[in-house]
Amino acid sequence: MTETQKLFKNGQIASEKSPTLRQADVLVNEKGSISAVESYIETKPEMDVIDCSRKILVPGLFDMHVHLREPGREDKETIETGTEAAINGGVTGLLAMPNTTPPIDSGGMVRFVLTLAKERARIPVMTSGCITHNRQGKELAEIADMKEKGVVMITDDGSPVANSYLFRRALEYARNFDLIVASHCETMELSADGAMHEGKVSYQLGIPGIPACSEEISIERDLSLAHYTKARIHIQHVSTARGMEIIRRFKEEGVHVTAEVTPHHLLFSEEDIGDYNTAFKMNPPLRTKVDNQQLLEGLKEGIFDIIATDHAPHTTFEKNLDFSSAPFGITGLETALLSLYTYLVKPGKTNWNLFVKTYSAEPRRILGLPSVEIKPTHPAEFIVFDPDVTTIINKAFMRSKSVNTPFLGKELMGRVEKVIYKNEILLDRLQK
């Protein structure tokens, strides 16, 4: 964009390595690399100076669980709107899920999506591919071809591979290609027509429940198979404390497993559904307040490697159906940083380092991407975050095509003021 050096003056740098913020000046060169991070850098005339006093510089976030909906449901989201939503939330890289229509289950589809992304997205988009052909859980998809075209993970996300025999073969087959097999853990027969967590609240609302064991049995199965096949596995969107304990056990045994937790499973419980509010309907469902607390402990202890949002846009029309008929899922890209800052970092329940580790550094390590830690020689890829102002989450704020978030109409603390990506400023809220 500009061919000048940029000096980010007096910012507080967040890093996964330190629970406290470090005050420093950051110099970014013309090519978009960080050339210096010092407690004081002298301003020179050729530098564009950006005052960051009282602001926090956060490494660009990476979301490993995003539904971009393109192709097929462009009425909900497109690669362009989804990635713009990401930028709006401070996310500078993401991994798309393959449950599009048609699904991303072949080399051709992978190429198509990645080509579109190159044309239309201002941030890197990676994609996953399906484990099974057409996500039907019947036969393997052409995994090697997808890998060659750029897939970094395979998953049938949205549904589990119900057939244990086939899932075993998928794990074995994927080993050769160094691909992560990611699993949406659910036992469909137990979930049946459930629409929320099975418990006191579902009884009271008369909504068929999804028992916690539907997920836990599936986690246990998948990890047993990963243990047996010595494959690398990733457990998506864990919602129950018992499920987390299963992961802990297998981790201690040395199984190569990583796991993710979503902001909503940390922040909300079944009780938030209230009067059948479909903005709180997602799969896996919101569990109990005890689960919220224990999942947060698990994040701190490292049972969960990453935070990912499971950004799942749906139309207002669909979300306005009755609770049982409305689709599962909420958006997350634009609210993850703000909501976790508001409810966890600001009240002191976690520090910035945990957030940076799990929502910026670790996802990149898992996928073998270069680090975006704010330090010399690294590419400049960070957010200027203003903790002193608030953001109102409304249609005008959002870049996503869909507004199905429980934060709609709410005010969250903090603001993503700027998003720096190499030598570009992707977002600058101070310049209208």
Binding site: Y203, L205, G206, I207, T278, A279, D322, F323, S324
Partner: protein, 328 residues
């Protein structure tokens, strides 16, 4: 809201479930139902209370009895009644609810009586219309008018309900009647026992429900009333119990159990319609302490009281389908 009518304070726009109403309100409805019932013995059963008002029966699930009960109740209050039956197959499940409501809104309906197979639909409709919404049964969630008419029926038998014992038998899991009746009984200080196949007694039930394994232990608890739930034959029953025969043998009022019922003087209730030979044997229907027909009669009086009590809201125009619903 203006203050000129002291009773207006008690009024609310909708009746959606029992959880949200108070004991005073339940008492008020039961007391109000009384004079309406007395009306039935006269040759002219009509009063002009709701003259000029329109009541719409919006039934997404087939029902003859409840719909007729509401229809008679509304007509006896001199309201104009329209039946709007929407067959589930004609709409993609739930899809056109808002569109339907917008249409009905334009017709300036004052009261909507809603039955739907999915829980929460009446709540959703209530949020989107100025009309008073009465839940006539939604999914597994609630059937508040049934609970109030049952309370009225119980009051006729027991002037003081505190510490009376009611044994609810059958499919608690899938029953909106069980949810509303037990919540209502709980509010009134009645003790609640439940009996049924392990598959149909949810573990997530409220703690106040005493759970019995069989009639022997349940009878030993000395219930005053046995409330039999209707067994839904259409459900995938094979997962829940093996056969009607076995269900009847374990949980029906058989002739042996009927002897105990009679000797203990236990009252029998059932929301109807009865599956003879499943929940009970024929003879129970003519037992003097069988309250089933009384429940039906009280249903009309209670629903009149409810219609009289509710207060339709302001006629606000809602922009159709532009905003996501919710509190924010």
């Amino acid at each position: 809201m203006t203050k000129q009518d002291p009773e207006k304070k008690k009024r609310r726009k909708d009746l959606l479930d029992i959880d949200s109403i108070s004991v005073e309100e339940i008492d008020f409805l039961v007391k109000t139902a009384q004079p309406f019932k007395e009306l039935f013995t006269r040759s002219v059963k009509k009063v002009p209370t709701l003259r000029g008002k329109s009541v719409l029966n919006l039934f997404y699930e087939p029902s003859t009895r409840t719909r007729t009960s509401f229809e008679i109740a509304a007509k006896r209050l001199s309201a104009d009644v329209t039946n709007f039956s929407v067959s589930q197959s004609s709409v993609v499940k739930g899809e056109s609810i808002l569109d339907t409501i917008d249409t009905l809104q334009s017709m300036k309906v004052d009261y909507m009586i809603v039955r739907h197979s999915e829980s929460g639909v009446p709540n959703f409709i209530a949020q989107n219309t100025h009309a008073s919404v009465i839940n006539a049964g939604d999914g597994y969630h609630a059937h508040p008018t049934q609970a109030i008419l049952d309370t009225y029926t119980l009051k006729e038998v027991f002037p003081d309900l505190t510490r009376k014992k009611i044994l609810i038998v059958g499919d608690i899991l899938h029953s909106r009647v069980a949810r509303s009746v037990s919540t209502c009984c709980r509010k009134l200080g009645i003790e609640i026992g439940v009996l049924g196949p392990g598959t149909l007694i949810p573990d997530s039930r409220p703690d106040y429900m005493e759970c019995f394994k069989d009639y022997a232990t349940a009878f030993a608890w000395n219930p005053d009333v046995i409330y039999l739930l209707r067994l839904q034959r259409e459900r995938q029953q094979a997962y829940f119990f093996p056969s009607m025969r076995e269900y009847h043998n374990l949980f029906g009022i058989t002739s042996n159990r009927f002897e105990t019922v009679k000797s203990e003087g236990i009252y029998i209730m059932h929301p109807g319609p009865v599956n003879r030979g499943v929940e009970l044997i024929d003879e129970v229907m003519t037992y003097e302490r069988c309250l089933i027909n009384q429940q039906v009669e009280n249903g009309i009086a209670t629903r009149m009281a409810i219609l009289y009590w509710l207060q339709p809201g302001e006629n606000k125009i809602r922009k159709p389908n532009t905003e996501i619903r919710g509190k924010s």
